[in-house]
Amino acid sequence: MIATARRVLWQIRRDRRTIALLLGVPVGLLALLRYVFDSRLFIFQDVGAPMCGLFPFILMFLITSIAMLRERTSGTLERLMSLPISKPALLGGYAIAFGVLAAVQAAIVCTVGFTLLGLNADHGAWLVGVLAIGNALLGMALGLFASAFARTEFQAVQFMPAVVFPQLLLCGLFAPRGAMARPLQDVAYAFPLTYAFDALRRATNPGPLGGTVVLDVAVVIGATIAALGLGAATLRRRTP
């Protein structure tokens, strides 16, 4: 497992531009948002604070689906499946490597957001960071699963808007769920990102955290494990 994590990090380390984009883009977008809402900073607080914890979800989804697709199409996955490596060890390796990346990304975006850009996290920026890593792993798990349905990198990229955007729109980030059409409110509860967002909102808003935050986190962890399980099922030792 550690060997795979080390290998994935070796691969990314060499790709300086990806690292720069991975670490720089969220910060840049957050700063952009800050000045878009320059005269209405309360909106920046409402949207920007939870967003710090959602960036890693989006980016890890994308990176994992492409990385796994490459592994499938380059023949390395077939090769690995003929070797004594277990699927959990392979997936665990990816989870560790991307978890490390997500932690770095979350640390940077939270530091900038909650200090330089003046966002508030009433229960601590560190909590947002921790939630962000959990969300990154959820994104990774969904990306892994999605990659099984993509044959080309073009398709894999399109899964981002298909899988991530609906969840972002319905989670309550851009409009409160209570203001949405009734059926959408119900649909939102079927999406794991809704729970991820709720946890982040509770962590960044004043008032007690409450027990529901534990429930939210549990749902995110459960969804991650379920998606990893589904993803593992798509890694076949034998292929047609």
Partner: protein, 237 residues
């Protein structure tokens, strides 16, 4: 002596095309068996079935007395895919270190297999920057790491210059001297004379299981390419 690889009535369908139909063969231990036939005749599919990564429709494939795909076999079979399956964005050494960890091979094997495929000078290079033949050798080196007893090599010598090719055949010979069993595919009959045993394949079937000498004798042709042609003509007649 029991065969290392025993295939009985193997049937493989890919998509809606029957790629291998009712194929049976034995591969004898401690020898280099050449699997020869034109591109698209089913060599790679047959090799995938032996390694246990191919969904098969029927028949049995047994290696070292165990069904293909049995987890314990993953420690004992080395499989070289036709397209080099190594990470293009890692260096040669990084690739080998990763596969060494996955196969549980000690780190010092990395240097040894590099020497075996004559790639010491390229150790620090990114695989992307290597030539096709070098990439094949990196891929081959990864299969040698855990000293497998059975090596299934899909076109290992394609695109190599004659000297390197001779060197590789030399190292294959050393592997069998060490007790390994090799199944090596090629679409070029030039390689046939290097093998101990020959399996001539066409359209998903084995036309002949023979040896280079026997093939020459049987067809009266000294040139093995022409001998193969004679076998094909004979099977069609």
């Amino acid at each position: 002596m029991t065969a290392t690889i025993e295939i009985d009535h193997l049937h493989v369908v890919r998509g809606n095309r029957t790629v291998i139909e009712d194929l049976s063969l034995d591969v004898v231990p401690g020898r280099v068996t050449g699997l020869l036939g034109p591109s698209g005749c089913g060599k790679s599919t047959l090799m995938r079935a032996i390694v246990g990564v191919q969904v098969v429709a029927g028949g049995s494939v047994r290696i070292l007395g165990r069904d293909a795909g049995t987890p314990s076999l993953r420690h004992e079979i080395g499989y070289l895919t036709q397209v080099p399956s190594v990470y293009g964005d890692l260096t040669v050494t990084e690739n080998l270190r990763y596969f060494a960890a996955v196969t549980g091979s000690p780190e010092e094997r990395v240097g040894e297999v590099l020497a075996q495929v004559a790639l010491q000078d390229a150790a620090g290079q990114i695989v992307h920057s290597l030539s096709g033949g070098q990439r094949t050798r990196v891929s081959l080196a990864t299969t040698l790491l855990n000293r497998p007893t059975v090596l299934v090599l899909d076109e290992p010598t394609v695109g190599l210059d004659p000297i390197l090719r001779a060197d590789l055949w030399q190292s294959f010979r050393e592997l069998t001297d060490g007790g390994a069993t090799l199944l090596v595919s090629s679409h070029s009959m030039e390689e046939a004379s290097e093998c101990d045993d020959l399996l001539l394949m066409r359209d998903g079937a084995i036309l002949a299981a023979t040896t280079p000498d026997e093939l020459r004798e049987r067809t009266g042709e000294n040139d093995l390419s022409r001998a193969f042609l004679a076998i094909i003509r004979g099977s069609e007649a």
